[in-house]
Symmetry: C2
Subunit: 238 residues, 2 copies
């Protein structure tokens, strides 16, 4: 009972996976490193072997480690990691993520989200348009500093991706959502308060509502580019 780390609502195996995951993505355990054997490791963590093993299964499912008899559990090469797994990404952001990763994620956003906005403009239903409007209104009222505002922001982007009717594309949302969360977090630490992002959001909305694919692409491009610029500023600061 020595206060397991981050013991929120996570189970024991989950919190161990969490802890180990962070230690891996932050470089505390390098690729190629072999973790101590199950018995030793579980004893050091003061948990049963089963709990530890279930944690390892979780990490293995995300590509972070690989277990083999007689060898042990080895941290895999980074190119085998499932970087688009929501948990893995969250673990990256928990420890300070490498600059290259953040830039890579925004580059991916710049590729995917404008294209998604264009598809959404062509395929969105009326109900989806209304849901988007509502999200933006909440966002406008609550402001980006509040939890409700940030949540509405994420909802909006998720709604756009859902409106594409493309499940794999929408699946990127959780990934990208994590990036957005991180950005807004660091934004709030900056003295120079960021420009109001609402006009850009409404521009995206208007184009999607009007069924204007090209306009939606352009508007989303502007939106993500600004977000990216602010993240770049935040990266400068440290």
């Amino acid at each position: 009972r020595p206060g397991r780390r981050k013991a929120g609502k996570e189970r024991l195996h989950g919190s161990i996976a969490h802890q180990l995951g962070v230690e891996i993505v932050s470089g505390r355990h390098q690729p190629g490193d072999i973790l101590s054997n199950e018995i030793e490791f579980s004893e050091r963590l003061q948990v049963s072997r089963s709990a530890y093993r279930e944690a390892v299964r979780i990490l293995a499912a995300k590509g972070l480690v690989e277990s083999r008899p007689r060898v042990g559990t080895r941290v895999t090469e980074m190119n085998r990691w499932n970087l688009l797994d929501p948990d893995v990404l969250a673990w990256f952001f928990e420890a300070e993520p490498a600059r290259a990763l953040v830039e890579g994620l925004f580059e991916l956003r710049m590729i995917v989200e404008p294209a998604a906005a264009a598809l959404a403009a062509e395929r969105r239903t009326g109900a989806q348009v209304e849901a988007m409007r509502e999200a933006l209104q909440i966002m406008e009222r609550a402001g980006l500093k509040s939890e409700a505002g940030q949540s509405a922001d994420r909802d909006f982007h998720q709604l756009v991706l859902d409106a594409t009717g493309n499940a794999p594309l929408a699946s990127l949302a959780s990934t990208i959502g994590a990036g957005v969360r991180w950005t807004t977090f660091y934004k709030s630490r900056k003295h120079k308060l960021p420009p109001d992002p609402m006009p850009e959001h409404w521009a995206v909305f208007d184009a999607i509502a009007a069924g204007d694919a090209g306009g939606a692409r352009q508007a989303m491009d502007v939106l993500v580019a600004n977000s990216r610029a602010q993240a770049a500023d935040a990266l400068e600061d440290r």
Copy 2:
């Protein structure tokens, strides 16, 4: 010891996760369904509770199920699934994947790969160019019907993504690679033999080697579009 399914080199927990994963993505277990409790399920499968539990941890790590005390293990809604997880995708393709999923994946390829090719053209190193050339030469010699040829095809696409220097983007490769594999599989079943894809591949290569971003984007666009068209044909057949 009643011949576990797909008992290749997978461990017991892995093969159970595999089997259950396929049953879930193929709709045999619908979202919202609750799996029988651990004791009953593990007894039905004739395995220990630990093996079954580790399998469930794997599925939970990929977002397919969710376990809670007093409720059981429930299949989650599809929008929570990690569709970009290589295993999940492989499970989809093992059972016949829904038409919408295949189309969605190709749509995603059409968005991502041309953009990636453009980035690769700007950033590739000399060594990467040589590796790409080699892959295409192997592909040319071995032909697409052989395992070596298909492997070289995958290598080429992977190399292009690696050359972007963008890790999250490259992480999409395993996903997209799975799609490519599936396409070539069904292509080979079609009577009308598909057009020779080598010229398109060389066009992509030439543009990347020349550092021509726009040309690389265009060439990759053509390549993926053709692949998509062939997949569409294959979908027609069934």
